[in-house]
Symmetry: C2
């Protein structure tokens, strides 16, 4: 992509109301623009990162045998009355129509997915089933803050699984825990599996995938030795920072701020039973269906990645989620240099590489380097009067070392 | 994809409340499920078609030099008060928050895109600019009907262009008209450029891209000779069916029902002026900015395609937008046949083909063929005791001819 097509290019400073790293850097570098607290526009740069994260998550869910669908944001009030969520969930946005019908805007999709799957599940032969979607969610948050970490409108992957027995659910739940850790690793995030309450979803213990960051809203206690981790919300029996780890009993628990990148819930029959979603077993008996739900905040993950991968010059994207692999810069006004830079750009594009080409004229090397550092692509390529037209300089973002490459042999 | 992963498979009959071809076939074949009138879930099959259409539209917009962004569905009341749309647009969904703030759900995005672009446009050097998005829209329709043709929640591509002069706008507008016709052709739709009113967007004449279909909601008059076409809403001077064409004056105008697949609007300064979006020209004078907006209904296009490409057995997808290029069927219970079918599936996938593999056991040939006809992939491949394990039968959807291909030479 040409730099001029970005529309939103790096600015001199971060917005005054930004207090977190992700809000500051994502806005200043041109990945997002705030529409109102908790609601953002994604620019061409930001949209690329959202897609990279979505694609990684999508592949992992497909690997779990889940099928992608897309549920609606709107759904009728009646769905939410069945489970009582219409009256009990504070963050549920409610809409009134011209015809005086009431609708909900999905903050999660249990109330849509259960009646939906009821159409195709009736016998034990129809189980297990797993569906997921990557869809925008709406939550009427009292305080939306921390950039894209806590939004009123945010992108989420939510998966729902349906099982004939609790054992079958447990198998899938265990597999999901492993897949989640692998997914976050691919996103460049070191997530801790944390015991937490089921919140409005379930009475049971759920697992949150917590990433340590001061911008996070959760307080956790973790054992640096065995890895046991618990949300302080449910920490019992006087468990606090400095307590002995209740699991390994070897080390003292450490307290930290963290942000929840994902979660998995044992829903039991809490959502299936109210809708009468059951199945008939091999002996013609009606049985309850056990459900799990599994969330990953796609836009929040983008924010957490920036919290974890940044320095004083800007973002340092992990290779997997970077908007472009290469940031190509042409310096000076020498036509031969500029022509060669265009050739290199076309050549890399032809090789299937993702390249952002800063082709702007009459701009200092300092300004172009600062933009590249802010945007944070993993590899910076520079062609200038200093390199000449036969070589190009490659520098990794976050490293001070650079090396010269023969352009003729350029196959990165 | 394996048939068993579809989750929603072809049903014996269409839903009782479905009156249009797209509603009947898309539901019966398993592409969509209705949540409420005008609101649908897209299944794995349906989502594939939405993506195919989106990708074709995206490529054409990129070809016009437009940059993809993603705006929020939510935006603050204040944006909509600036243009008066808060009080004047009936179909605008309005939300109240816990903190007693009011928000709008985007039915179109002029009120978001103008303040957004104001951040990056100040000088003539910043013009022209064009951005687009593919985003779900919400409209509080009094009557949502005709399957996915008229929705309360629907997927749309909306592009916005910003120009220093009306001439520059006219150039881009003219180019858009050509690109739109090419886009619809790639989608398998024969669209007529139709003169229409600007509706709530503009006082000026706009152009609608109309596809003739009885399921459509618009009435148009067109000249079969020169192609002149006008929405009856704005047909003047006694122009009716049977009138002489006012353009070529050779033929009589024909009346028809049509569905609007896209539209382009000359917004003039109607949206830029209220937000004070202006630019400074080369002589330091402040100037008005001319805007255009350009819509394509992605989900509606999917519905129109089905209205136009179907027979009594089901959907006949044009190749470009089909969920899969190949529908592979294994017949009988012979293990050698079934094993060979799996090999063919893997081979085609390895060649980068998109294949739906009906691997279901204990099902009649008739049931599998009926499912293939309903779903409507362009090429049906059958391996059965009749073909043996060395040949496979290829039949085009919508044709009765079939031919045998040597499996060893299979490279479709």
């Amino acid at each position: 992509m040409l730099f001029s097509q970005l529309i939103f290019t790096p600015e001199k400073s971060a917005p005054a109301n930004a207090t977190t790293i992700n809000h500051k850097l994502l806005t200043q570098a041109g990945f997002v623009r705030q529409v109102m607290a908790g609601v953002y526009v994604y620019t061409p740069l930001g949209l690329r990162v959202l897609r990279k994260i979505s694609d990684i998550v999508r592949k992992e869910m497909e690997g779990m045998g889940s099928s992608e669908i897309l549920m609606s944001a709107l759904s009728p009030k009646s769905n939410w009355q069945v489970t009582g969520a219409w009256d009990s969930v504070d963050v549920l946005f409610k809409l009134n129509s011209q015809t005086n019908k009431e609708y909900a805007l999905g903050f999660s999709h249990e109330e849509v997915v259960v009646p939906l799957l009821k159409e195709v599940i009736s016998s034990y032969r129809d189980l297990p089933k797993s569906v997921y979607q990557i869809q925008w969610k709406f939550r009427d948050e009292l305080r939306a803050k921390s950039g894209i970490l806590r939004g009123r409108e945010f992108l989420m992957k939510d998966m729902y699984s349906f099982h004939a027995t609790h054992e079958d659910f447990e198998d899938y739940y265990g597999k999901a825990k492993e897949v989640y850790l692998k997914t976050f690793e691919r996103l460049g995030l070191d997530a801790k599996v944390t015991e937490a309450s089921g919140g409005s979803f379930s009475e049971k213990i759920s697992y949150e995938f917590m990433v340590l960051t001061d911008a996070g809203e959760d307080d956790i206690l973790y054992c640096p030795d065995c890895g046991y981790c618990v949300n302080t919300e449910i920490a019992t029996q006087g468990l606090t920072e400095g307590s002995e780890c209740p699991k390994c009993k070897k080390t003292k628990m450490v307290g930290a701020k963290a942000s929840e990148a994902g979660n998995i819930f044992d829903l039991g029959t809490a959502k299936s039973a109210p809708f009468g979603l059951t199945y008939v077993d091999g002996k013609n008996a009606e049985r309850e269906i056990y459900m799990g739900c599994y969330g990953i905040g796609i836009s929040r993950a983008m924010g957490i990645i920036v919290e974890k991968h940044a320095d004083d010059k800007g973002i340092v994207w992990p290779e997997n989620v970077a908007p472009f692999q290469y940031h190509l810069i042409a310096l000076g006004e020498d036509e031969a240099i500029l022509k060669k830079a265009s050739e290199v750009y076309e050549k890399l594009i032809g090789q299937g590489k993702e390249v952002l080409f800063d082709e702007r004229r009459n701009l200092s090397a300092g300004a172009k380097f600062a933009a590249a550092d802010l945007i944070g692509c993993p590899n910076r390529l520079v062609i200038s009067p200093k390199t000449g037209i036969e070589q190009i300089e490659l520098k990794k973002r976050g490293s001070n070392d650079s090396r010269l490459i023969e352009i003729n042999r350029l196959s990165l």
